[in-house]
């Protein structure tokens, strides 16, 4: 009885009702809150990420682009909020993740082919099933290098190709790409960018791409997600609808140029703010 009369802790306020995103939403983020060193990085952040689209995340330094996708992918714990994948939790969802630093993402004690098959092995697939799926990936990526080699024996671009293949092996619902081109030379960047576009056109896998290069961000995107400085909010979501396959010629199309220009204006406005 006394506990009722003298409550020591006030009951938590009822959480706001969960408002689902529009139909065709792959990832629903509601009330996401994350503090870094006492200061809010994200506070009550809401976002809907559409299914079967590529969304590029772009924003000022330190606004937490990578942190955002890492929180969605479950690599960084969140302080409050809810993230649902088509109504399911992260545990019930297959995701793929491509790291910027491929050198420290692949397992150097496994041959490249076993690295690619590793997520399938985790799922408990048989050797034959794993081999069949890897064969499929090799064909669709048109791999020209020897997968029997260890990752450290491959070039940077080959390693990143392999790590994208690894991420795609279990046919993920969402593919996260954290600055996948930053550690690559320009030639490899172009090559892998094309591969990603091909994979997307074949499979329609929802992709969330963090980039610090605006051209790259717009080129691949269906939507460019522009973020503000911290505490981070959505500055603007710009649609970009030029048809795929996009090519070098796309870079000089009026649609591309105006989207890039508009993105840059918003970006600069946010940086100065």
């Amino acid at each position: 009885m006394s506990a009722v009369l003298h409550p020591l802790i006030a009951p938590d306020p009822a959480p706001p009702p969960f408002v689902p995103g529009p139909p065709g939403t792959a990832i629903t983020i509601r009330g996401l809150t994350k503090y870094f060193a006492g200061a809010p990085l994200y506070e009550n952040f809401d976002l809907d990420i559409p299914k079967h689209r590529i969304v590029s995340v772009f924003g000022p330094n330190g606004c937490g682009k990578s942190t955002l996708i890492n929180m969605i992918a479950g690599l960084i714990p969140i302080d409050a909020g809810e993230i649902l994948f088509d109504g399911k939790s992260l545990k019930q969802t297959k995701i793929g993740y491509v790291f910027q630093n491929y050198r420290e993402a692949m397992f150097p004690w496994l041959r490249t082919i076993d690295n690619i098959g590793y997520p399938l092995k985790l799922e408990g697939q048989s050797k034959a099933e794993v081999n069949a799926r890897v064969e499929e990936l090799v064909a669709s990526f048109d791999v020209k290098f020897d997968l029997q080699r260890y990752p450290y024996e491959l070039s940077g671009g080959q390693q990143q190709t392999a790590s994208i293949m690894r991420a795609l092996a279990p046919r993920p619902e969402v593919l996260f790409l954290d600055e996948p081109f930053s550690a690559l030379d320009y030639e490899m960047t172009l090559f892998i960018r094309e591969k990603l576009q091909e994979v997307f056109m074949q499979t329609g896998t929802t992709m969330l791409l963090v980039s610090h290069d605006l051209e790259e961000a717009v080129y691949l995107a269906d939507h460019v997600l522009l973020l503000t400085k911290r505490p981070t909010r959505v500055a603007k979501i710009l649609p970009y609808g030029d048809p795929r396959p996009r090519t070098v010629a796309t870079l000089s199309e009026p649609g591309f140029i105006s989207t890039k220009k508009h993105s840059l204006e918003i970006f600069q406005r946010e940086v100065r703010r």
Binding site: G74, K94, Y97, F107, L122, Y152
Partner: protein, 272 residues
Amino acid sequence: MSAVSAPVASARTSPPVAPARRLNLGRVLPVIGPLLLFVAWDLVVRFKLVSPILLPTPAATLLTLLSGLFRGTLLNDFLHTVWRTLQAFAIAAALGMPLGVLLGSNERAYRSVEFLIDFFRSTPSSALIPLFLMIFGVSDVNKVAIAAFGALLIVLFNSAYGVINARKQRVMAARVMGASRLQVFKDVLVWESLQPSFVGLRSAVSMALVIVIVAEMFIGSENGLGHRIINSQQVMNVRDMYASILAAGALGYALNVLFLMIEKRIVHWSGR
């Protein structure tokens, strides 16, 4: 005179002999130090700068070493020391590596025993010889036990830190692919700890050899290099003493090279 003289191909017409010569020199370099030492040693003895009673010529020493290894009793002592060292090392590795990896994967567990490990790791194992004498008596087991104890902590410490300092991104990569805690442990952490573990194993085998030699000297022993070194010193058989010291040095060096080779085979990704 033109300020910008075009680079002319003929400027580099010197025959490509120099690089080849340099390469040969590179191969010879490692031998120069030992040769100089032997020459200096020989001169010191020849000019009687040191009494021949205290220092035999290098040639005589090497002869004693070789004849002792091939015909005499030196080989027997050598093998006894090798056997004790390997026993101690095997115990240290078999206990230390799994224990280190387990402790390392649970950082709280490691932090709670860290002081003990660091303390006993810093305690000279030779200081514990009398204590081990009380426990195990004057026996072969004693020599192996004290050497194993000294080596064990080195292995444990290195393996634990190998796991603690595992590349966080590889752990994240495994987790994002849906690996359980156990799978992360056996597919990532154990492998990540291999390279630092090998550093530990190499230091441990050196430590085991040091302690075995000391133990053979001072814990009543009838064989082993340590026993032989101190015995020949007492009867002033200096040739045999120097030969035994060289044998002990060669053993330590060979063990180190052997472990480097094994490490290169197993941890093939190291440093890449």
